[in-house]
Amino acid sequence: MQLVVNILVLASIYALIACGYVLIYRVSRVLNLAHGELMMLGAYLLVATASGLSNSPVAALLLALALSLVVGGMVYLFLMRRMTGEMVLAAVLTTVALGILLRGLILLIWSASPRHPRDMLGWENPVFTLPGDARISLYAGLLIVSTVVVYGALFLFLRFGRWGMRMRAAGQNPLLAAQRGIRLHAVFALAWGLSTFTGATAGMLIALDSGLDSTMVMIGLKAFPAALVGGLDSLAGALIGALIIAAAEVGVIRFIDPLLADVVPFLVLIVMLVVRPWGLFGTREELDRV
């Protein structure tokens, strides 16, 4: 049973991060390689709000989440918007530069020392015993709950929401969408905002569970295979991809050799790229276009 819990927690981390990659890619065809840094920035925003609002921990958390949404939108408005009409590669390279800039800024502002926002907020991290004698901490459990809520909300938003439909339209045919009066920049800014919000949610919950340090940026990269395996333009794919990668990783750690944990996600990715390059739920035409 503990094995299942471990898989679900890891899959939730990957899924929350991977949906950020997918949201931006399906709307603008840009691979955001600064997503790990934006996730880490979200966690550090919690450190900032926690130090200022330690008496109101819930307000600190909500403010940090809201700030992450705003930061994502700002990144689009002040940086990525200028890439509109340029080659996709130029936009991707811009995200690489953004990542380097964010890493430097985070170090300058918060230093490289480990941070523990949960202690700053005065919260505990109780452990619950589940059937089968499996154990899960509060924040690990919240990672799973958040994943369910975020994906559920995103499915409803994209399916029935006015802005969700606009996002889908912009992703499928930006020219036609623009001609029909959809404000593409607003849609793209919303996609960047939501992407940063979901990544930051993962970053904050990881930081609340086990602390925050500058190695978090590498976790963002580890979730990338989940998005690719599921299909870069499919949210359902990101969810399934995260489950596959997490199951493979935890299984290898448990039954084969922990040393292979780092390799397995990329091994699964290579197999997927050979067998089905557009991913499990990705669109084949979109890949051809890329």
């Binding site: 503990q2 094995l3 819990v5 471990n6 927690v9 890891l10 981390i13 990957y14 890493r103 430097g104 170090l107 230093s111 490289a112 020392s113 480990p114 523990h116 202690d119 991290n125 452990v127 015993t129 154990r135 901490s137 690990a140 990881i206 086990s210 602390g211 340090d213 500058s214 190695t215 978090m216 940026v217 590498m218 976790i219 580890k222 979730a223 990783e249 935890v250 750690i253 448990r254 922990p258 040393l259 944990a261 780092d262």
Partner: protein, 386 residues
């Protein structure tokens, strides 16, 4: 007359920087000041900078100031190589310092050797070349020492609980950490302990529970962890979340003191070569004052490694016949003996043959839940470095 004045003016303009350069002793440091592992190195570098600032404020070395040139390599070998080249070809440093991951060692060692400039490893793992018989050009001030750390940790477990124990190991998937834990596993077997698990975690893991589950399932009563701080402590905390009630020994890196206070777990032991600031020694108060005066973003208790490196550099430059000459400084380093004023278990001494230290001492600390403060569980235990 006008022409002569002009020549004299030009001579003054060009001679002035040369004279100023003569008044400065340059030291070049390449370190992981940014990037994912910066937390392990940046505070130590800050400690070294503060120490040398103090040396300069007190008049420098024989009236010459010491200039510390910092270059970030982000733990990337290519950047470490470029930094080293710059130090040697442009800056004219007399000593180079490496405070970065072991992957940056090879280019730095090669460049330093080619230029005949001594290279000191500080806060970074000591390479095999500094142990007897030592490479004449390489030195190491870092507290932790491969093999000796595991010997001391396992000796502590033996002294506490005997050898009839089931022991697990934790390392990070980097060569230096894996090598040490492989050695520890063999040594534990030879001592009569039963190794039951060895978890090598990637740098970093999003969730350490799967690795911790293996250790718990194997029935480990003790765990010895030798890895960067994040991997050590996150594995421990994941074990506790799983309900594991064993004892955990980890290496006391520069984050240890603050983390023992945060975790407050009597079953978590930190073994290391540096004393903790809970001792309240005068030198620690000096470091704390310097940290506060500089408005540093790091805690004073994270600066010990850098401070000790500063002590060694000051001692070597003071003893050198010509502190502006690399060969002269290297000769001085080869016979340096520094009183660490309690920051370590004894003086740091180097000989022609031994550039690690002649004696390596360890102390073990943990959180005392009754007194609500850090306590010394085992006082300095020394090992002759052969």
């Amino acid at each position: 007359m006008k022409f002569k004045s002009m020549i004299a003016g030009i001579a003054v303009v060009y001679a002035a920087p040369a004279a100023m350069a003569q008044d400065t002793i340059k030291i070049g440091l390449t370190g992981a000041l940014t990037g994912p592992v910066a937390g392990t190195y940046a505070p130590a570098v800050e400690g070294l900078r503060l120490y040398l600032d103090g040396v300069n404020a007190a008049g420098g070395i024989g009236g010459r100031s010491v200039e510390l040139i910092l270059q970030d390599d982000g733990a990337e070998p290519s950047r470490a190589a470029a930094n080293s080249k710059r130090f040697l070809t442009q800056d004219g440093v007399v000593v180079m310092i490496n405070a970065s991951l072991s992957s940056t060692y090879a280019p730095a060692i090669a460049e330093a050797k080619r230029a005949g400039v001594p290279l000191i490893f500080s806060a970074s793992a000591c390479p095999p070349e500094v142990f007897p018989p030592a490479d004449p050009n390489l030195f190491c001030t870092t507290g932790f020492g491969p093999k000796y750390d595991s010997q001391a940790a396992l000796a502590f477990i033996e002294a506490t609980d005997g050898t009839d124990v089931q022991i697990g190991f934790q390392a990070m998937a980097i060569p230096v950490s894996r090598g040490e834990i492989d050695y520890a596993e063999t040594l534990a077997g030879e001592m009569g302990m039963t190794p039951v698990a060895k978890e090598i975690t990637p740098p970093p893991a999003p969730d350490y529970s799967p690795f911790a589950s293996n250790i718990e399932n194997a029935g480990a009563e003790w765990v010895w962890s030798w890895a960067p701080w994040v991997a050590q402590v996150k594995t421990f905390e994941a074990l506790r979340r799983l309900g594991w009630e064993g004892d955990y020994v980890l290496y006391s890196h520069l984050e240890a003191e603050g983390e023992l206070e945060r975790i407050k777990d009597a079953g978590l032991y930190a073994i290391g070569a540096n004393a903790m600031f809970s001792e309240g020694l005068p030198v620690m108060e000096e470091i704390a004052s310097a940290t506060e005066a500089a408005g540093s973003s790091y805690e004073a208790n994270q600066m010990t490694e850098g401070w000790i490196a500063g002590m060694v550099i000051e001692a070597a430059l003071s003893a050198a016949e010509d502190p502006g000459d690399a060969a002269s400084v290297r000769d001085a380093l080869s016979s340096v003996s520094v009183d660490t004023e309690g920051l370590r278990g004894g003086p740091l001494e180097w000989t022609e043959d031994n550039h690690f230290r002649t004696v390596q001492s360890y102390r073990v600390y943990r959180w005392n839940t009754d007194s609500g403060q850090i306590e010394t569980v085992r006082d300095w235990t020394s090992y002759d470095v052969q």
